[in-house]
């Protein structure tokens, strides 16, 4: 790449260091303990230490850097962001994530799709045991860009609800005249509601569902929220939800239920 030659030439002309082997990467550092220039012949990594450069050499280096971007299409990136970029790439390169993401690509709005990719990275860092501070910072990135909907996508992704959404899509697809809009009619309220949602998919007992609903009702009530949405897919889950709701109605006399069923998918709004 031409800009690498430019930087090698800078080092040769201005610092009298002749690098014979090809330069592959360039890192501009600020390290009072390091040499002005270091080059690793094995990796081709060239480090230029800004702190050790005399003022006149800095002025000579500046146009070399700006030309690298403006004329030679180089990307200039701060080290930590470069690391994060590589970590995102690793997250998305696993077969499981590729299959998961490719399912949603084009089916949900573009902004939601990017928020989902970001959420997957947050989920991975959480599972790797990242500090709470880092998780909160990453979540804030999503919230700042995509507002409440982005935060909901992150929470739903962490809770595994997006896998349930795949099942919803596949269920809807079985019916004639299916279109993506039919999926979005189910999907949009779920990502808008976020934490106010209980999603019932296979593999959960009636007791587990009941506990989650009661726990979220209790939490919501504590914060002055008197509503909870329940979504479920498939005959057995719908029956499970109906049984739980039947019990809850006798336990909470003020509980009001609005229910709609559409092609094997049930949506309920509980007001309490």
């Amino acid at each position: 790449m031409a800009f690498l030659d430019g930087l090698r030439e800078f080092v040769k002309v201005h610092l009298n260091i002749n690098i014979q082997v090809g330069v592959k990467t360039v890192n501009i550092i600020a390290d009072p303990r390091a040499d002005v220039v270091s080059f690793d012949e094995t990796t081709g990594a060239l480090k230029i230490n800004w702190e050790k450069l005399p003022e006149d050499k800095i002025e000579d280096l500046k146009p070399v850097i700006s030309d690298a971007v403006r004329e030679h299409d180089a990307l200039l990136l701060e080290n930590r962001s470069k690391e994060l970029l590589e970590e995102i790439k690793v997250t998305e390169s696993s077969k499981e994530e590729q299959v998961f993401l490719s399912f949603f690509k084009g089916k949900i709005p573009d902004d939601d799709y990017t928020a989902l990719r970001a959420s997957l990275y947050v989920k991975r860092r959480f599972e790797e045991g990242a500090q709470k501070e880092e998780i909160n910072r990453l979540k804030l990135d999503i919230l700042k860009r995509y507002s409440k909907r982005g935060r909901n996508i992150c929470d739903l992704c962490s809770a595994g609800y997006f896998k349930g959404l795949i099942k919803i899509y596949e269920e809807l697809q079985r019916y004639p005249g299916f279109s993506n809009e039919a999926f979005l009619e189910v999907y949009n309220p779920i990502v808008d509601e976020g934490n106010l949602t209980v999603f019932v998919s296979g593999g959960r007992t009636e007791e587990q569902v009941r506990r989650e609903i009661e726990s979220k009702m209790s939490r919501n009530r504590q914060y002055g929220i008197h509503v909870l949405y329940i979504h479920g897919i498939g005959k057995s889950n719908i029956e499970k939800i109906n049984m739980v709701i039947y019990d809850l109605k006798s336990k909470y006399s003020t509980l009001k239920i609005q229910s709609s069923e559409y092609q094997n998918i049930v949506s309920m709004k509980l007001t309490f």
């Binding site: 592959k24 600020a30 700006s66 990136l77 790439k89 990453l138």
Partner: protein
């Protein structure tokens, strides 16, 4: 991805952000926003039309001058441009 992330990238230490910006005729105003050195009233913009502070600054790529924020969604979008 057509090229590895190593290729075509110049990296820099976080504490050199101001110096790197100076290569492009930019500086930072009293509020922490990146501005044109010759016209400090003009803040630089990201492709989304947002102002960008020194803290948020992650880098620059070609396309006139495209300023990149260091947040997660911005870096995901950057990754797509490298593919």
């Amino acid at each position: 991805m057509s090229q590895s992330l190593q290729e075509g990238i110049i990296t820099f230490d976080a504490n050199l952000k101001s110096e790197i910006l100076s290569c492009f005729g930019k500086t930072v105003d009293d509020s922490g926003y990146i501005v044109e050195r010759d016209d400090p009233s003009q803040r630089v913009l990201t492709p989304d039309g947002e102002d960008i502070t020194l803290d948020e600054f992650a880098g620059i790529r070609k396309g006139s001058e495209i300023f990149i924020k260091a947040d997660l969604p911005s870096l995901i979008e950057l990754l797509d441009t490298l593919e």
